[in-house]
Point group: C2
Chain length 654, copies 2
């Protein structure tokens, strides 16, 4: 248990209250886990040599339908009762109880998760690498098999359960040659071993599968979803998986995207493809997560008509209603690809007859590679609060509609995220990135949770430090996304990163390439015209009210201005500044903020353990170097383009 820094579960001050003993009836994988967890936390108690009061776990004999299958109640008294309809509810209740203790906030509560799917997608390859991972190697695989030391998987499972995650897909959505065989022995046994661990913590295991498996491992000459042999292939494979892993969750599929095979090859559509897999899984209660990240990645930069942002909607809206009941469309938060700032996908609120999950990214692909501080719950909250104006609530916020379509209280809805976890001692590379994993769990459980409350909880649960230090860390976390956005690509235009690595500035890194990712800067102005009137017409994919907001330059929010409009550098923002002055100001401010972080972090050195202190200090230094590079490259580029001087006369390299 000591090898990995288990974040918010390893603080040794949990039991500074009095609990004498505990009672837990029943015996199953999960109740055994609860015994272990309680034992672990009780062992920490000895540090304080205090007496503990009674703790009783009550699995309700008479089901309380208001709690559902995952909810729980905590009743605080001389004896504290944690009750639930199910063992996993008790587990969640216990972890919540610990959390309340850590936050010195003990009170009786009832909790039921708002989303039934709270999932993480690992992009792990079986050779041990993690695509877009910046926190070490895979915690599941090494040398083309399962890791020898599985303790980290245990730690990880309890960590996830402690924030309510109930589903994990363990391999990369880009399913390479060897990974295609994960559905077959001998690799299937490895998968089963991992499922065994997750099962103890109430987490279902999923696999990313290769749509071309019938060809690649089945010796068929087609993967056509309408072909009888292909249908039989998947039925047989699925049956074999369930024989080995009876509670197997199902498949995650990236098809017809970035050179992955898919139904298009055979003149079929995505519903044909997804439904075929769904039918194989259906008898076992499994589901298909079908990713909507489908676009032409061989676009010509000269082609101004094609707009990558429109692709997912164009592909999937016509299919609304044609997916089987156990198919879930997995939609990235934005129409592009996890940019620091981009619009919210117009599929949300538009798709109404189809199960959907929202896909976030915890991995720091475009958010600084876990070398820059970036507190993701801020971004998640912005997205969850985005008003689609669909008629499900006052504004049709994303968080309201997730559960609403295709039917009220639909159980196959929720949130998933690309995990980015690795075997670094702290699992996330940057110590402060642990707050993102923590926060994702909290928001998946309850999207209404406030980002500031999440930060506070994570800090309370993680560090033994004074109030001043807590406030400093919280301030760094909360301000970090704006800081990062300030010194990187301006006003929602995105993509000014080095190609492939996606780290560090390159204004034109993607400007003349085939990925549909342009800023169209010239000597007069910059931005992508996505209006219906003069541009690509992407704005029209939104419901009427948002269409009008984004179409109109006067109502389009500043932070997305260049995502929707091409404007001159002298255009006046709602802030009262010109675009060019905004670029200069934000880029200077961003770097100044990082300087401030470094200063503040050094101030709290004495409060922190040396490992956490150094981990963040070193990364802040790199963030500072990188932020200056961003500032200067962007400022110089736009000075050279526009010829407009900084009003404040600061140093811009000519």
């Amino acid at each position: 248990m000591q090898k990995y820094d288990n974040c918010w579960l390893n603080k040794d001050t949990f039991f500074n209250k009095n609990y004498e003993s505990y009672i837990l009836h029943g015996d199953c994988d999960i109740t055994n886990s609860i015994h272990k967890e309680v034992g672990y936390f009780l062992s920490l108690r000895q540090v304080y040599e205090e007496n503990l009061a009674d703790l009783v776990f009550k699995k309700l004999e008479q089901q309380d339908s208001s709690l559902g299958i995952e909810g729980f109640k905590i009743d605080i008294g001389k004896t504290t009762y944690i009750s639930s309809n199910t063992p996993v509810g008790l587990l969640y209740g216990f972890f919540k109880f610990i959390n309340l203790l850590q936050n010195d906030n003990l009170s009786s509560i009832v909790e039921i998760p708002k989303n039934s799917i709270r999932m993480l997608n690992h992009w792990d390859n079986i050779n041990g690498t993690v695509e877009r991972g910046y926190a070490g190697s895979s915690i599941f695989f090494e040398n083309n098999q399962i890791v020898k030391d599985k303790s980290v998987i245990y730690h990880y499972a309890r960590l996830l359960a402690s924030v309510g995650i109930n589903a994990v897909s363990i391999n990369n959505v880009n399913v390479h040659k060897i990974e295609t065989y994960l559905i077959r022995e001998p690799l299937l046994s490895c998968v089963s071993d991992i499922a065994y661990i997750f099962r103890k913590y109430g987490i279902k295991l999923y696999l990313s599968v290769n749509f071309a498996s019938p060809v690649e491992i089945g010796e068929l000459d087609t993967a056509d979803p309408m072909n009888e042999d292909v249908i039989n292939f998947w039925e047989k494979e699925t049956n074999r998986i369930y024989k080995k892993i009876p509670d197997f969750g199902g498949f995650v599929v990236k098809a017809d995207s970035e050179h992955r095979p898919g139904p298009f090859t055979y003149g079929r559509n995505h519903a044909d493809g997804a439904n075929m897999l769904a039918k194989a899984l259906q008898p076992h209660g499994g589901v298909v997560f079908w990713r909507c990240f489908v676009y032409n990645c061989e676009q010509d930069w000269r082609d101004r008509k094609t707009d990558r942002a429109k692709a997912a909607y164009d592909h999937f809206m016509p299919l609304d209603g044609s997916f089987d009941k156990n198919v879930i469309l997995q939609i990235k938060n934005g129409p592009m690809d996890f940019q620091v700032r981009e619009a919210v996908s117009p599929l949300f609120g538009s798709l109404r007859k189809t199960n959907t999950v929202l896909e976030f990214q915890i991995a720091h692909e475009y958010t600084g590679h876990a070398l820059h501080v970036f507190y993701l719950p801020s971004m998640y909250k912005d997205i969850l609060k985005f008003k689609t104006y669909a008629e499900v609530s006052k504004d049709g916020c994303i968080m309201d509609i997730l559960k609403h379509y295709p039917c009220e209280n639909n159980e196959l809805n929720g949130i998933t995220a690309v995990a980015g976890i690795g075997n670094d001692f702290n699992l996330t590379g940057h110590k402060l990135s642990q707050a993102n994993l923590y926060g994702f769990g909290r928001l998946a459980w309850n999207p209404k949770t406030c980002k500031s409350e999440i930060a506070k909880q994570w800090i309370n649960s993680t560090f033994n430090i004074n109030e001043n230090a807590k406030n400093i860390i919280k301030d760094i976390l909360i301000t970090s996304p704006q800081t990062y956005e300030n010194y990187t690509a301006p006003l929602g235009v995105g993509w000014m990163v080095n190609i492939y690595t996606h780290y560090g500035p390159s204004v034109n890194g993607y400007e003349f390439d085939r990925w549909g990712t342009y800023h169209f800067s010239d000597r007069n102005g910059m931005g992508v015209d996505r209006t219906l009137k003069t541009g690509t017409g992407y704005t029209r994919q939104y419901l009427d009210k948002n269409f009008e907001i984004f179409e109109n330059i006067d109502t389009c929010p500043d932070e997305l201005l260049l995502f929707f409009h091409y404007v001159p550098y002298t255009h006046i923002l709602k802030s009262g500044k010109t675009v060019i002055q905004h670029i200069y100001d934000t880029h200077f401010e961003g770097v100044e903020k990082v300087e401030e972080y470094i200063k503040k972090w050094n101030e709290i050195k004495e409060e922190l353990d040396i490992v956490s202190f150094k981990n963040v200090k070193n990364r802040l230094q790199e963030q500072y170097r990188s932020a200056k590079e961003w500032r200067d490259q962007i400022n110089t580029y736009y000075y050279r383009m526009s010829g407009i001087e900084d009003e404040k006369g600061r140093t811009i390299y000519k």
Copy 2:
């Protein structure tokens, strides 16, 4: 002999003249090679079933001092005499004789090479890769040892001897970990095996060595050239090498450059470093090639004072006269790095007390990766004819000064080139690139040879085709450098390539990086101000007359304008065009020329063997695709920057 297409030596029409028998006295490695060669060519004769007249090789008993050690005479008569002071002279004479036959140009001649060093530098790694090689894997190494099938090395050696190459270094100047051990057994035996083959064709073998060898393999804690142990180390290593390879040529050294170790580490200068190695080699007659490619590769793009172009001169001019007699400074043709167009290094004509060789690149690093046609002898001729105005001849052309300093008729001067050869069936990847290897040899032997004559000879020696086809190929070759220059970076500014690969356009690929390679384009103009008056002062490194020519915008040649000056897009060139219109025009013209090549090449399909036809045809297609990408990216970039329309209204993507 059939596996590899041996270019100009495998045409089967050599002996359509009458030669009955031949006489060659003596028995040594080289005379044995002559026997083999004659036998090979005689075997081709049988195709024609003609009688051959007598061919007599005369190794002169009384030395003819006018021929030196490599010159030869060919006397044509009923009996043809090839005579020389040395076996290698006879070998060169025989290959020249074959060449005259191939070109239907038989006449009595005397030839003496103008340069004594005619060398190729291989950048081969022992794992089989070739740095900046685009023609397959190494012909020397595979799997960390010498290749099993050495026949290609034989073919290569005779090919080189046929154009007078007399020196080859076989490993990458970036000497990696394993290659550092090439000077030790067991790898030294592999080197010796290769030397054995080259020896038969009059070619000396050299090794690139790691300056830090005393630390890396000698278990010393320093590589300080003044340290007694280090001196002893190199003496011992060198003695061991010569015991194994008595005619070993010496060392090639890249030191203190691009993270290679060097004397700077120990507060010593390059003369200290080079002389230390030279002293170890001196007793054996070996020499040190010390590369002048030394610059700061960690420059800050914000720093406008540092100019990479100045680095070699700044490092080496102060050391002129302090190098040992068996040290040769190896100077790249330009001050940057083998760009399509750059100024000629100001070290030529300035260094006067030091042996120097000129370094060209045959490998197509910046000239299209052997996917684009690029006839290098044109570029080589431009450089060889460059007037330094040093007082050695009328204009002090490079070709005149090579042999002049440090003393008249100095024997340690010449030309070397980065080979770029690989185990592709034609050794050069692009069939037409064979003309570059051929031409380099011819120019190293005699820099006065005309580029058009070289092209003619290579075509005559290589193809059995009609005059029209010969003219078409010649025209493609001769126009190819201008074509390539037209669609790539304009007016000598260079560097607009994708970073690291150096293939394909990226206007800003190197603009904000640490390599000292910038174009400083802004909305008003572009170019690097290297004048003394307002810029970096690089112009002052030239002798007075060139300083004035380059310093003055009115006398600076168009093709180097942006190398020396920053000018507005509206600046009028000597051609009468504005810079921006020149950019548009040349980029359209470049692509049109490639279209013409494709058309012409298809026209001569019937004349060509299918392998050559397809090889070039496929590459022309890629050249066309790439040229269009260059055209459009450059034109669009500068349209967006300048806002100036094309006078001719052609398509420029906005």
